[in-house]
Symmetry: D2
Subunit: 281 residues, 4 copies
Amino acid sequence: MHLLKLNCPDAVGLLARITGFIAASGGNLLDVSQYTDPVSRWFFTRLAFTGGMVEDDFARFEQDTRALADSMNAEWTLRRSDRPVRTVILVSKQDHCLVDLLWRWRSHELNIDLPLVLSNHDAVRPLVEREGIRFEKIDFSTDKSAAFEQLASRLRAEGAELVILARFMQILPEALCREFAGKIINIHHSFLPAFVGANPYRRAFERGVKLIGATCHYATENLDQGPIIEQEVSRVEHYHEPDDLIRLGRDCERLALARGVRFHVEDRVLAHGSRAIVFRD
Amino acid sequence: MHLLKLNCPDAVGLLARITGFIAASGGNLLDVSQYTDPVSRWFFTRLAFTGGMVEDDFARFEQDTRALADSMNAEWTLRRSDRPVRTVILVSKQDHCLVDLLWRWRSHELNIDLPLVLSNHDAVRPLVEREGIRFEKIDFSTDKSAAFEQLASRLRAEGAELVILARFMQILPEALCREFAGKIINIHHSFLPAFVGANPYRRAFERGVKLIGATCHYATENLDQGPIIEQEVSRVEHYHEPDDLIRLGRDCERLALARGVRFHVEDRVLAHGSRAIVFRD
Amino acid sequence: MHLLKLNCPDAVGLLARITGFIAASGGNLLDVSQYTDPVSRWFFTRLAFTGGMVEDDFARFEQDTRALADSMNAEWTLRRSDRPVRTVILVSKQDHCLVDLLWRWRSHELNIDLPLVLSNHDAVRPLVEREGIRFEKIDFSTDKSAAFEQLASRLRAEGAELVILARFMQILPEALCREFAGKIINIHHSFLPAFVGANPYRRAFERGVKLIGATCHYATENLDQGPIIEQEVSRVEHYHEPDDLIRLGRDCERLALARGVRFHVEDRVLAHGSRAIVFRD
Amino acid sequence: MHLLKLNCPDAVGLLARITGFIAASGGNLLDVSQYTDPVSRWFFTRLAFTGGMVEDDFARFEQDTRALADSMNAEWTLRRSDRPVRTVILVSKQDHCLVDLLWRWRSHELNIDLPLVLSNHDAVRPLVEREGIRFEKIDFSTDKSAAFEQLASRLRAEGAELVILARFMQILPEALCREFAGKIINIHHSFLPAFVGANPYRRAFERGVKLIGATCHYATENLDQGPIIEQEVSRVEHYHEPDDLIRLGRDCERLALARGVRFHVEDRVLAHGSRAIVFRD
């Protein structure tokens, strides 16, 4: 199966042209999603299909797709659905999201390659290495700028197509966010836009909220402001103290992050401005 | 905006042909959903579009659509999205679903015409008549068969396109289910297939479940076995007695029924065998 | 059944003294909740009981309760559970919360008396009067201060024990909030503390959140900052426009408000600083 | 902190006697839950308290508790809250619940000792042994009766206070269920009582349900009929095939099982007939 993801300014006949192109190539559509934003007049689509030219001569199909997309001024990606997405995880000391991702990777629930985990601490090294995955610690305590240089160069060297911030407690510099725009997924431990920034569970407790949450979003230059991919909530009661909120929140974080990553690696997410189109599965 | 809903055996190029047909007629697609059942190899689609021939010459567009659909051996419907669906509600004594539907109808949340409410009791007559809607009681206590004859003839006379069983406590005869196949929506007060039949809340209490639910489904000849459109659940605790379950369940029933009806009148549901394809909004 | 609600500084033996007092009076406990806030060292309890002196000689039981509570420096209330709470609803033009409350009142789901509905508009007058409830419009368009004077005097004249702001689009003055402290319940149409203030659904759309919500809380001098009683959320997708969020949010608002009011009238809520202890049912 | 859990026939003054007893011993109550089943007239309570005789002279306090409980014909347990519950996990080939429990054990989210994991397969051996936990395979393929003998003797030898069936695909014999009554927690991969027995996800798919679930319950002699501790659901759509339901269900199973186990080891569950009283946290 192949996946074509495409977005461009709206016009009459776009989907007809795209599906006509695929049909003419002998491809059979299995699953099609299309959405037009009525405000920005922008066209989004994702098509899953199989058979015909895309399998017999991928290079030629890709070239023809490029010609079609260029004529629509479209951004697009074309990918075999079973090709894993090359992924690097960044993590600090807390291991709950990491352990969950490792399990989903190992059991083939997430279609990713995982060559490397980076951290500013050594705490989770054993959990990573016992899975046969390389672990590297980068020292952020002395020269933060140099540390981020090193981080960026490691990501480049690995050819990272996706960077997951699985509770990585460092604010990324703008340049890094821009270089990997649309490729960095963060999990924030609150129901954004409530409790942007530090200590959200403590502040949720003090405010006396009855639901807490977690938010999976793309990291951008603006802290906790990137397009939201997925959110999850959990009910809390008055007898839950901040430590209980942290505990309950961990399950929200793991679920929201795992689902967000899954949507991304299945090419279901198209970020556009501050919003994310998510063709869910 | 117009809505085309269509299902047929799968083949290569179906969506291309349909979207190509719409584009050729000058129509612009706003929202497209397509799904192919991999087991039955059946193709389902719903297209929302605007402009061109469908607005200038509806009869001709409909004729051309028929020719296209026939060539695909497809079942299909074509409808202006703002044309209300002619609806009759059947209800017994409990009014919670009825009151909710009346409010959604009055506030234009549901795109239906509501000329008539039928009941086997007089209990809800004032609630209906004060909305300016006709209410008729049919006597089911003596001759049930004659009562259903009368019911069917009232539905025919009204030209009912949709019949909502809003807690109607009579089991419909097979002939009626067949005559209005795909047009009768029922709300069952349990999380089907758990607790098929009578007294589901009492049985849920005795079983000690921690979640109760409600199920909105098409009525078929087989009691509580029709295709499920929507389900809703609510958490319950040990201290909830059967009356509490009934109370909490009412909110589940109202929400599941209202959403199911909404999906139906927006042409989002395509029943197929025992399952319902629901292109949610 | 009677309900005793009590809170005071924590000490050893408080619950033993209270339950011992009730047992000595011949009362049988049916349902007891107790919670001690470990931070503020504050004791909260709610006891439901039946039989003995409270039924034979309420005045004497109340006097003995006062003596006991005074010795603990406690705030407390004692009430027959079937005595309805005298309630006034304030509403503007939107009727969804009002209609829902009216239905729950009429079907005895909420144990309230409802002598009066006040509004700054005439829009919902027919909905109120057809239930046999008095409706009064207060003019807020010219002299807001005088209007609030009139409002307060109406509440006093009715002996309002509970004031429900069922989408009342006027910010209450501080004096009114203080006079009816702990007796005014508001529904805010966002998941607080996200989107405090105006147009929360529009802002939720622009932020691209994947869940929207509603918050039922006590009104205090600080807008949208009062103790939270209940919250509810609903999943939203990229194709939901602001009007869809408003529609989906209405169901959240109705549910959160109805549950919050229910908890309050069943004496399940003890507000304490910025937080609310809610012994749920 | 200590936990006293107690149930007995209802009578006037029970909670007063118990809390009076604790207060007289110098104990301070932190959290009290009490519930009386109005049908069976049965009294249930859980008390968390600290200080006084229970800490200075546990044996004497336990003896006094026994005398009190005997006078009420009560079943009861008394336990230091930080004493871990000795637990054995039984598992077959699927590892998702096991991995989740191991992580919660390692991160001290569940207050259990975990000396041993038993299985009828070798599949999960590496996952267990790398945590420093003993793993033993029992052969169920030839003599099932002998295998269960061996299983029971291993549980006895370990002094198992809790046995978790973390997707153990063997039906326990009646004798074992009785010997460890109230100590065996199972996770069933459906929303009971829907889809009792084998292949629930396949049957859920065929029925076309819109929500799937998982049920955590005590194992009894009657398959999938034991008291339910916790349930969890997940929404599914028409495009989810049986494998998707299995995948989505795994998250339900992990959450329902982890919460159920947590409630049990915190002495929050009192099974009574076919129902379980759960004083949630």
